[in-house]
């Protein structure tokens, strides 16, 4: 007699790593339940409001760690709802990185060439627009002009944004009200639901244990819709197969908490965390110099003063993305918008005694519309380690929403610090040339370094000691548990990672289907893109067959 609810596949998390397997498995005939710790919001609920309790704080999570703080999605659709939709592919050299382990970090089976067909599948499923100069915001244009003036190139960044629907409001982090951002709410998730997948919001998975007949038991708590510090109940679902995609700041925590009942976890669970090498610099632009030196004019005599206008990052400098350069000296420099309330406290004033608070900081804020933020993505050293898990979830929550304290510790190595210093110096070199701006990095002294792209805390690889997952994303020693979110990515990518996380999730699906079949689930592989397109499927067919074991 077993009264516990059962499903074929239990997916934890509904971001890129969860939505993509959920869609394919449901389309293939499996019974799929998705547990998402955050709420489900309709597009009409995405507000332009900084007030605590608005969509801005309901769908974001900010977890403070020791030396590293992490921003992540907390809603149905996960990171895709709050992100800025930059979707570049990772440069070729990234897959050859050696990082801190002094041998190739990525599995031998994955390179840019073998991942490109999977990138194509994502591009067919999530409309990605190759931006032209008319799509580039003033901030992106200013960055491009400054790069050009300094002898650099600059590229509009491919983005999952319908440019015809976008009103350039720069409220993407609160969810897109206008249907312009091509989040998972517009493609994989509704397609998964159409095929019978059930998505349950406000279900926070705590741990996994063993059930009967080879099933896994997934233990969750239900979360109060307004005050996430409170829980409203708990439950268990049994599944033949578990896909973990709770995000790189949460997936390893669930596995750590499961260790007592599931048995020892691979050494790399909760280790090798990477912040994607991220760091921000603020330039305060001298408007007169922007006009005189760069010839910029918005048409009304204003040179710039447009920090608020746009759609996140629109232009990046990729000159250092050169595989012939030594590791830790390759990075991209991307123009970025960062809203007030979520970190501008970390911006430092210029001069000999930089300050994050006080009178000069207030003066710096008065020039906020003349800010230009540059986002560095360097190669870090995977130095993040998770300590013992908190009582529930992945953080001890402080505020009713958004803010909590987690167990991640990150002590940047000399490699990481040198790479940041090099990128800082280049930002200065480009933007302080001819008096264009005053540039300062954000301080790491308050909440540590800061990432919006947590990676690698439960990564794929060929070496069991330094990777928690095999190259099919299955957790070593725990057959039937797969990890498909950013935690599976082996290391920093030097570009925004969403496209790579999504491509890896697409690539992982045939292996998950194979494992599901071996565990008695009636499921097939081969669904088209969520809108029915099939051309990219043809290119991945032979690769999928190999992963399916056919």
């Amino acid at each position: 007699m077993n009264s516990v609810e059962r499903t074929d596949v239990l997916v934890v998390g509904s971001g890129f790593g969860g939505a993509i397997p959920a869609y394919h498995l449901a389309a293939g005939g499996a019974k799929v339940v998705v547990l998402e710790r955050g709420p489900q919001l309709d597009p009409g609920e995405f507000e332009h409001d900084f007030k605590l309790g608005s969509s801005y704080t309901r769908i974001f999570d900010f977890v403070v760690g020791d030396g590293m703080s992490v921003l992540g999605g907390n809603c149905v659709g996960g990171g895709s709802v709050v992100y800025f939709a930059a979707m570049p592919r990772a440069p070729r050299f990234v897959f050859e990185r050696r990082g801190s382990i002094n041998r190739r970090m990525w599995p031998a089976s994955i390179s840019r060439d073998t991942l490109d067909p999977w990138y194509d599948r994502v591009a067919e499923s999530i409309p990605i627009t190759q931006q032209g100069w008319r799509d580039v915001s003033y901030a992106g244009g200013l960055w491009a002009a400054a790069c050009d003036h300094a002898g650099r190139t600059a590229n509009p960044v491919p983005a999952a944004v319908d440019t015809t629907a976008c009103v350039k409001c720069n409220w993407m982090m609160a969810g897109c009200r206008f249907g312009a951002k091509q989040s998972l709410l517009l493609n994989y998730l509704p397609a998964a639901v159409a095929h019978g997948a059930e998505i349950r919001p406000l279900h926070e998975v705590q741990r996994i244990s063993r059930g009967d007949d080879g099933h896994y038991r997934v233990h969750y708590m239900t979360v109060d819709p307004e005050d996430y510090r409170l829980t409203t109940g708990e439950g268990v679902i049994e599944a033949r197969l578990v896909v973990l995609a709770a995000g790189a700041a949460a997936t390893p925590v669930i596995l750590q908490r499961s260790e007592a009942e599931l048995g020892p976890m691979p050494y790399a669970v909760g280790r090798y965390f990477s912040g994607n090498g991220e760091r921000l610099n603020t330039a305060v632009i001298n408007e007169d110099r922007a006009r005189e030196v760069l010839g910029l004019d918005r048409g009304d005599g204003t040179a710039y003063a447009a920090f608020q206008i746009g759609k996140g990052p629109t232009v990046a400098n990729w000159d250092r993305l050169d595989g012939s350069l030594p590791e830790y000296t390759r990075y991209s420099l991307e123009q970025l918008y960062f809203p007030p309330g979520l970190g501008t406290i970390l911006a430092l004033t210029g001069g000999p005694d930089p300050m994050w608070f006080g009178l000069e900081k207030k003066e710096m804020l008065r020039r906020w519309q003349s800010w230009l933020i540059i986002f560095q993505m360097i190669e870090d050293d995977n130095e993040g380690v998770f300590g013992p898990p908190p009582a529930r979830g992945n953080a001890d929550r402080i505020s009713q929403q958004m803010l909590g304290v987690g167990s991640l510790s990150y002590k940047p190595t000399a490699n990481t610090q040198a790479a940041w210093a090099m990128a800082d110096a280049e930002c200065k070199e480009i933007l302080e040339r001819d008096g264009l701006a005053t540039v300062t990095p954000w301080t790491n002294d308050l909440v540590g370094a800061y990432t919006v792209h947590p990676l690698a805390s439960c990564r794929i690889g060929d070496d069991p000691r330094t990777s928690a997952l095999d190259d099919r994303h299955e957790l070593r020693g725990h057959p039937g548990i797969f990890v498909t979110d950013g935690s599976a990515v082996p290391g920093a990518l030097t570009v925004n990672p969403a496209m790579t996380i999504a491509a890896l999730a697409e690539r992982a699906v045939p292996g998950i289907v194979r494992a599901a079949r071996e565990r008695g689930v009636q499921v097939t592989y081969g669904a088209p893109a969520p809108d029915g397109s099939t051309s990219a499927r043809r290119a991945t067919a032979p690769l999928a067959s190999a992963l399916l074991g056919e």
């Binding site: 605590l52 915001s137 232009v315 406290i345 006080g358 207030k362 906020w368």
Partner: protein, 183 residues
């Protein structure tokens, strides 16, 4: 409800994070080093007294601790404090600033607590997190006004009809792929 000591002490802390102008000639909490409204005028005390922040229950402890630190700081430097006001309020602005630097410096055992309090004081100013943003702008919120946030459209949403210089402003990286990615 905060008592007078707590209110004045926490206002003085908020005023150290984002300084403002005195509300009246006998305003002691706000040091008055800036000609425009700072964190206090922006509503820092309203925000930190909202339990959604998670720090409301600790405000009396913050007050006690901050005044203990202020007394110790003054003793170490031989400063005589006016006993009519709480010790932190009695410190001149420069000394308040120096003490906050000590409390929020890497390695200080209470750093995370002081950073948290500073964060909410700062948020009251730079994002008016206790108010609907459109209402705050309409009411002339000093922080949002300083940032230069324009009012939204009538439906409370922002839209920008002009957003781009609309012309090529740099050479593209020579190895860009057909889909616009790095090679």
């Amino acid at each position: 409800m905060l008592d007078e000591t707590s209110r004045a002490t926490l206002e003085a802390f908020a005023d150290t994070i984002v300084p403002g102008n005195k509300r009246s000639p006998d305003d002691r909490a706000v040091a008055g080093v800036s000609p425009t409204g700072g964190a206090v005028a922006a509503g820092a005390l309203e925000l930190i007294q909202w339990d959604a922040t998670g720090i409301t229950a600790g405000l009396d402890d913050y007050t006690r601790s901050l005044n203990d630190h202020a007394r110790e700081y003054a003793d170490q430097r031989g400063l005589t404090l006016d006993e009519d006001v709480p010790p932190f309020v009695a410190l001149p602005f420069e000394e308040r600033t120096a003490l906050v630097r000590v409390l929020t410096a890497p390695g200080h055992p209470e750093k995370s607590l002081w950073v948290l309090l500073a964060l909410f004081c700062y948020m009251a100013y730079d994002s008016a997190a206790h108010l609907h943003t459109a209402d705050a702008i309409a009411a002339g919120h000093p922080g949002l006004a300083a940032l230069g946030l324009p009012a939204p459209d009538a439906d409370g949403l922002w839209r920008f009809s002009s957003w781009s210089y609309g012309r090529p402003l740099a050479r593209l990286h020579p190895k860009t792929t057909a889909s616009g990615s790095p090679a």
